[in-house]
Symmetry: C2
Subunit: 339 residues, 2 copies
């Protein structure tokens, strides 16, 4: 890493199916200077999240998609290294959506202060950041579980799923997590306090759900879609609610040749169920409330989080490819420079 | 037809795929006598509805499924021919779920009086019966459209769809109906006042929806499922609502080898949409209110209905097979005896 040059990862071509290293290109440019009203920030931690795969695809999305040559979308925790704004001083820790890059000069209005009294700064893109907000609002505002409800969450050991399950426990739910390894399954039960777990790679998800919760699934927080979701739909209880948060099993599907599955929406008539999609940004006005609550629950020990930290900016593409395969264990971060 | 014998259609075997005539058997038995508290009724009109296919299948359903040898499920409009109850007298017109049969002796509590001041008695199993109630509550209580919303309804010329679209017009919606022939498409626009129509057999449903409603589909009343529904999902507007009423395109699918389609629930995240299943019986407490309103709208000329009346009890199985193929045009009834 040079002290005078900035590095950024760009999308050099659109992936077909799973992204490959040659879809990404590392470009260098001089470290910019902050102009009036701007701050120069240096990335400490970069968040890698499944939604980024959607930005690499053309076609309709809830956000602008990337063009060839664009810097990969993403949010970092960064330190202010130069400030031409009265709002920030050197050394302040901020969050900003500068994409996959080491340095950036941005308007002071495009960064958000990170309050390190709420938790370690890395959590500003994890349990106290977008993934934590997603879990909080998807569960409490979309699914609205009641004590006694059976809550199922997929990708249960991930950045979102782990928080969903633990807030479910705080709310008195019976919580079943679905994950992709025995180690992850053991973790969510033994460490996070889930009531049950299912390894979707080795177990029959539908049969296990029926065994663990004979009264069915009242609320399902869906991070994955695909066959796992089919299996949950088969087990819905009367008046069940499903929140569509992510569909990571589908993100590498080719739009021209999509992944297919049973046409099982008819089950919603049988159980009078509801499926609802949501985005974390729809609840932006309430994010600070949720951030404070999750922070308190972390301090109380009622919410635990696990970080999977990859060292080195140059390793970001490979880590992202692994994320889409479920190879990470906990919130995936790239450490770019020392705190 | 004998004057001393009753006839009934039973399920002699479970259909695999489309029902065939040999799945049905005609059995004769003596006309019963009403005992204390019962009425003997004679069927005038029998309703044929797609949900009956579900009763012929084993496995989970919202209602008990038929066993081999059981009389086919169904509702009739009938006349009281003998009464051993103070509640009814000979000549009263009633509705009752006696199944596919000509005569039955049933408890007076298992029949419902038909008020012929509300409309012709045949409508007691049509626009003023279960199909009309389904349309009313699915639209007004589940989808809750607002004036200006684009409402799409599939199976639009059918017993449910035609009422959905017309109540949508009364509510100020822009209404697009999807149907299976040019004749049906012409009917829903020219006779029922829909704003647009799409023939799913000859037109590209997704492209036509985009053309007819460039702002997308706000509310979709789904009677069919399958590729038609896929095309509507592609066109959902922000905060769109979908009601799953029926999935008739899927009813003949073999559960062991289900029909498949794209895994498109991810669109719900993009548009923050909701899909909800419902059953007409969930709104039973309010049925009389709805019946009165639909009756008034029929008298005002704001709701029209079309009946497809097949003459003769012996023709019921063939008419039902045709119903699942979309061969009927309007509410399908079997006329069993003269009013």
């Amino acid at each position: 890493m040079s002290d005078t040059m900035n590095r950024a990862w760009t999308m050099t071509s659109r992936p077909e199916g799973e992204p490959a290293p040659d879809n990404f290109g590392l470009v260098e440019s001089p470290i910019p200077e902050a102009r009036h009203g701007e701050v120069l920030i240096r990335s400490l931690y970069m968040s890698l999240d499944p939604y980024m795969r959607g930005r690499m695809r053309g076609g309709p999305s809830y956000a602008a998609t990337l063009e060839i040559g664009d810097i990969m979308t993403g949010e970092v925790v960064a330190r202010v290294e130069q400030s031409e704004s009265p709002l920030y001083k050197i050394g302040d820790i901020v969050r900003s959506s500068i994409g996959w890059q080491e340095w950036a000069a941005v308007s002071a209005h495009d960064v958000t202060r990170v309050d390190d009294k709420l938790g370690p700064i890395s959590t500003a893109v994890g349990a106290l950041g977008m993934p934590g907000m997603t879990a909080y609002f998807g569960l409490l505002e979309v699914l609205k579980p009641r004590a006694g409800d059976t809550l199922v969450v997929s990708a249960a050991s991930g950045a979102v799923g782990a928080v969903v399950g633990q807030i479910g426990k705080i709310n008195g739910c019976f919580v079943i997590g679905i994950a992709g390894s025995d180690e992850k399954c053991k973790y969510i039960v033994d460490e996070l306090g889930f009531d049950g777990s299912i390894n979707y790679k080795t177990q029959d998800v539908s049969a296990e759900l029926a065994r663990l919760s004979p009264t069915g699934v009242d609320v399902y927080f869906d991070n994955v879609g695909g066959p796992v979701t089919d299996a949950v739909l088969e087990n819905l209880a009367l008046k069940a609610r499903v929140a569509i948060c992510g569909q990571v099993s589908q993100y590498n599907a080719n739009p021209a040749n999509p992944s297919t599955g049973p046409r099982n929406l008819g089950v919603l008539t049988r159980v009078r169920g509801t499926v609802e999609g949501f985005l974390v940004y729809d609840f932006q006005l309430q994010h600070e409330i949720a951030r404070g609550r999750i922070s308190n629950w972390i301090k109380d020990g009622r919410i635990k989080y696990k970080e999977d930290i990859v060292d080195g900016f140059e390793n970001a593409p490979q880590a992202f490819i692994g994320l889409l395969r479920g190879e990470n264990f906990g919130k995936l971060l790239v450490k770019i420079s020392d705190e």
